[in-house]
Amino acid sequence: MAAPGGEPASILVLQPLPESAPVGGQRVDGRSLENARDILLRTGLVSQAAGSSYVEFGDTKVMAAVYGPRPTDRREGFSQRGFLTVDVKLASFATRERGRVQQGPAEREMSEAVGTALRAAVLREHFPKAAVDVWVTVLEADGSEAAAATTAGALALADAGVPMRDLVAACSLARMEGGAVVVDPCGAEQAQQTASAMLAVMPSADLVTGAELQGQWTSQEAREAVVLALGGCRELAEAMQETLQEAAAEAAQ
């Protein structure tokens, strides 16, 4: 409590973010430019949902739950192809400063991006007149939230048994001050980036389902970024397959 007429006794102050441009090929957390963070992938955590997943990219923690297929509202009319709705929400405790309870414009944009990436991979003809809902919650946001949300959504859809053409793996890149392009930026890097790129890929066929580039990219730089991101996505896809296979083997016992 502030003493009358005096300085406040103590105030919790957010520490400023560290300077995160890579120095001599080493990033603020010790990684090399092309290193993605350690990942953790799990499925089947939300027992009420048809399918669910939990994904960690370093300290970024994302949870996804899939519900459906459920009948669509009659106002949406007859459709031979099912609907896939994706909703991404950052928990209010996910960011350094407390976030809003309602979905903000950034979350709506992320929902659109993740929805586009996942919709291309789902065989919507297999559930006509029905809708599948994907609810993604970001529990801790420390960079690459959109990529983690896309990956978690794809894992949850596979866990739910929604027919898919392929899994979807997503990878983010950031260009930092000084021009270095880093893979899988952490929160400090993402806050200080000068340009960003996110790629969502169906790994078996190397088909891109989502691509978002922000900032200035020459076509040469964009090509290099895509190649870098593709490599990151392939590694992620292998890990996703292992996770799904282990979960299926456990369920078989």
């Binding site: 459906g68 009948p71 009319g77 027919p163 392929d166 078996s204 799904l244």
Partner: protein
């Protein structure tokens, strides 16, 4: 022996070697898996024109599906009027659904013969459990269902006054076991 588990997108075989069954789809020149599960090859019938085996991916656990034309479903009658019976679809085949889909049994789809003389109130009543076939996806509001086969129709109904579960008496009548009172229904012939 552990059966290898495939993930969506995994190539199962060339499209020319097999037919894609449930859980698999054709993508270009290859048949790929659509689900996480184990692969099963079903050889073609000796009489089938296409002798390629069918390749399927079987997923463990309940596969929540949506009603497709040709499926046999179990539904509960919610509401009737002279033209149709509105039902809630509860199960597709043997699998109970998490959410109910709306279905309609129209007067002309209740039975195969003498469709003009069908009275819905003599075929179904609210609360009956009915086994029906999905005729089509219908419109945005409901699936179109039909009971025009011997084995389709009411499988469980309670008598309107005594409340007892009735026993099938003929293809058109069900009888209350206590009061012996008879009510008209389009009764399903359940193979014994």
């Amino acid at each position: 022996m552990a059966v290898p588990v495939v993930c969506p997108g995994d190539i199962l075989c060339a499209a020319s070697e097999a037919i894609a069954g449930s859980g698999a789809h054709v993508e270009g020149e290859a048949i790929r898996a659509s689900l996480v599960g184990s692969v099963r090859r079903v050889p073609a019938d000796a009489a089938a024109p296409d002798q390629r085996p069918t390749i399927e991916v079987i997923r463990r656990g309940l596969q929540q599906g949506t009603p497709k034309p040709g499926d046999i479903i179990t539904a509960k009658v919610v509401r009737i009027n002279p033209r149709l019976a509105a039902v809630d679809v509860l199960c597709v085949g043997d699998i109970p659904l998490d959410t109910t889909f709306t279905g309609t049994i129209r007067r002309q789809d209740v039975r195969a013969t003498e469709v003009d003389s069908v009275a819905i109130a003599d075929s179904f009543r609210p609360g009956d459990l009915v086994r029906a076939e999905v005729l089509s996806l219908g419109d945005s509001r409901s699936y179109f269902l039909g009971t025009a086969r011997n084995e389709l129709g009411v499988v469980y109904a309670r008598h309107s006054t005594s409340g007892q579960a009735m026993v099938a008496h003929s293809w058109q009548e069900m009888r209350c076991p206590e009061t012996q009172a008879v009510e008209k229904r389009k009764v399903a012939k359940i193979a014994s």
